[in-house]
């Protein structure tokens, strides 16, 4: 048999990789991390059973997983909009914090708002705060062609230091026994909960945002233009699409969604702004968006998966494993995913 008769070609315009590639990437990532677990002398099977059990087996685990899935969903949706037009926003973490700060500012500086108005004002403040933080990334990109990746990441650090400043400084609860956090929110400043659980109204906000995004991306002229830009920015520009306007608006929206997540976290979960309010939701959201291939409904599924990973990561700490096991898993998933994405582009050609 002549080996040269078969040729593997890479077709850059090739179709998306099949769905099982994503599944395989997740499985392979778990396999790789199992090796690390085994090296540290633990039984990977037991660890994964414990992780899955902690995240999905009990009703407490499930609500905790969903609580973690809310910010991942909103931030993931936000960054996915930017990735659609090839704007590499990795600043969801900073935009999340900016939203949390802005929403908390309402409780600090406008305590006298009527009860029914408080939550809507906080919600808008959170979205505007996150949106502006996103816009800070987009403005240099649009006017000076500055790499948005670096800007958005630098702004993460700035937002984090800003958070530390207020919770250790001016906003610290004088009755909080030196705990770095603001005074607890009142009932009027807290999102309603589902029954006796910790699950809050942010879940509805997240799902509404997902449906809206899906409709707008699939069914409107705006969504069509986003897809054109995503396919080929240069061609879209020549076709008369306002590239700069789209970038600015998408980053405003992208940051706004992350800001909404920040608002929901302080108002729905923590009921105050505090040190370390985000355990890296904004970074995990990048993988959430990517593993869902930027599909809004896929983001719901991957947000629940990664929410479960975070909760599971906590539950294996009792076994003497660091919770960084979940970030290790996340990085591995992404590696296998991009390696696998090539499979959709390979063609076998018979000469």
């Amino acid at each position: 048999m002549n080996v040269k008769a078969v040729r593997l070609e890479i077709d850059p315009s090739g179709k998306e990789s099949p769905w099982w590639v994503t599944l395989m990437a997740v499985v392979l990532a778990f396999g790789l991390v199992a090796v690390f677990i085994a090296v540290t002398g633990k039984n990977p099977g037991a660890v994964y059973t414990k992780m899955l059990g902690g995240a999905f087996a009990t009703s407490f685990g499930i609500t905790e997983t969903l609580v973690k899935a809310i910010p991942l969903m909103l931030c993931g949706l936000g960054v996915s909009l930017a990735y659609r037009i090839q704007i590499w926003n990795i600043g969801a973490e900073g935009q999340f914090i900016a939203g949390a700060l802005a929403a908390t500012a309402v409780t600090i500086y406008l305590p006298g708002l009527p009860g029914w108005l408080t939550l809507p004002v906080m919600l808008v403040a959170g979205m505007v705060g996150g949106g502006l933080w996103g816009l800070f990334t987009a403005l240099p990109k649009v006017f000076f062609n500055v790499n948005e990746l670096i800007i958005s990441l630098m702004l993460n650090y700035v937002a984090l230091l800003g958070l530390d400043f207020v919770v250790f400084g001016p906003w610290r609860d004088p009755k909080g026994m030196n705990f770095p956090g603001t005074p607890p929110f009142t009932d009027a400043q807290s999102l309603p909960l589902f029954g006796d659980t910790r699950l809050h109204f942010g879940l509805i906000l997240g799902l509404v945002a997902v449906v809206l995004a899906a409709v707008f991306v699939q069914r409107t002229r705006w969504g069509y233009e986003l897809r054109l830009i995503g396919a080929n920015p240069e061609a879209a520009r020549h076709a008369g699409i306002n590239l700069k306007g789209h970038i600015l608006f998408v980053m405003l929206l992208s940051g706004g969604l992350a800001g909404l997540a920040g608002m929901a976290e302080v108002s729905g979960v923590a009921h105050k702004l505090m040190y370390g309010i985000s355990p890296g939701y904004g970074y995990t959201a990048i993988i959430v968006a990517w593993i869902a291939r930027l599909n809004p409904f896929g983001i719901v599924a991957s947000a629940v998966l990664f929410g479960g990973l975070i909760v599971g990561g906590y539950s294996v700490q009792t076994m003497g494993l660091p919770s960084s096991i979940s970030s290790l898993l996340q990085g591995s998933v992404l590696f296998f995913l991009i390696a696998g994405s090539i499979l959709g582009k390979v063609r076998v050609r018979w000469n």
Binding site: P12, F36, P140, V146, N147, L161, F168, L328, L334, F335
Partner: protein, 309 residues
């Protein structure tokens, strides 16, 4: 006079890890590949150095292991981006997340353990007599001298050797380079691996000289700052020296103001390097708006032989 000496010394100490990572970035990007994994590689370099040195106490073994580990990670990036032509940006992000997670995992047991006197110094006492620069240069450690040598070597390599010319061709126009018989993939593999090793050395340097205890996430964005410095330095190793020390100086100044009991809360002083990075990038963007930025022409574009463009 003494103040200038102190500031220069501190700027070099803070700037050298950045310089290593920036030089690595320049080497990689000159071949046409983007490596955004600098942060993850620096963390892996740092944690490898900490673990090895605590276990063996041997400086050379430590360096070798750092180079091996980060070289393997570089090989992974090269395989994904050069051979599989995967998205370079996502591969770099994955490397940063993976490196952050793995280093936190590995370093859990050695967090906070001090590494005393790990790095050999090069004492040139006779330089002490020279004005200003003399005392600064007389007591540098091995890392700093290595980084200075690398600046010169990389400059000579890129601009005064035929191999360097080939490398620039690969980064600017891989199709033409390929026609000329230059091994595009080979150059890219080599540069990504060597450059990733330099980023790892930057991390090892940060840990062993600048802040000699391992703490999770200790690079605090320095890898990303190095990515920005590559642009600021216009992909030129000589400019990278100035850029890295400039950032080192500002890092130091913030710290000094803090010690001096500045009225500005320390949180804002700590923001300086990040805000400055943004300012520098905007400045570069504004200056090169209608000119060439010095960026390799084929940066970030996978090369596929016989593909029509």
């Amino acid at each position: 006079m003494e103040l200038i000496e102190q500031l220069l010394t501190a700027a070099m100490a803070a700037g050298t890890p950045l310089l290593f990572a920036t030089l690595g970035g320049i080497l990689i990007e000159r071949s046409g590949i983007i490596q955004l994994g600098a942060e993850g590689l620096m963390l892996m370099g740092a944690v490898t150095a900490a673990m090895t040195f605590l276990a063996t106490g041997n400086f050379v073994v430590t360096l070798v292991l750092v180079l091996v580990v980060t070289g393997l990670l570089g090989l992974l990036h090269a395989f994904l981006t050069v051979t599989l032509r995967a998205n370079q940006i996502v591969s770099g992000l994955a490397m940063t997340l993976f490196g952050a997670g793995l280093s936190a995992w590995l370093g859990k047991s050695i967090t906070g353990m001090p590494l005393g006197g790990a790095v050999p110094k090069v004492d040139l006492a006779w330089l002490d007599a020279a004005p200003i620069l003399g005392p600064v240069l007389a007591h540098l450690d091995v890392f700093t001298w290595c980084s200075l040598a690398l600046v010169v070597l990389l400059h000579l390599y890129l601009n005064h050797t035929s191999w360097g010319l080939h490398l620039r061709a690969v980064g600017d126009n891989p199709a033409t380079a390929d026609v000329m018989g230059i091994r595009v993939q080979g150059f890219r593999y080599g540069c990504v691996i060597l450059g990733s090793m330099l980023m790892g050395l930057g991390g090892a340097n940060l840990l062993m000289v600048f802040s000699p205890t391992w703490i999770e996430g200790m690079t605090a964005g320095r890898g990303w700052i190095a990515v920005a410095l590559v642009i600021f330095a216009r992909w030129n190793p000589l400019y990278a020296l100035g850029a890295a020390y400039f950032f080192g100086l500002l890092d130091t100044l913030g710290f000094r103001l803090q010690l001096a009991g500045s009225a500005v809360p320390s949180y804002f002083l700590k923001m300086i390097p990040y805000l400055l990075t943004i300012a520098v990038l905007i400045f570069v963007g504004w200056r090169t708006k209608h000119k060439l930025s010095g960026s390799p022409q084929a940066l970030g574009v996978p090369y596929i032989r016989e593909q029509r463009f």
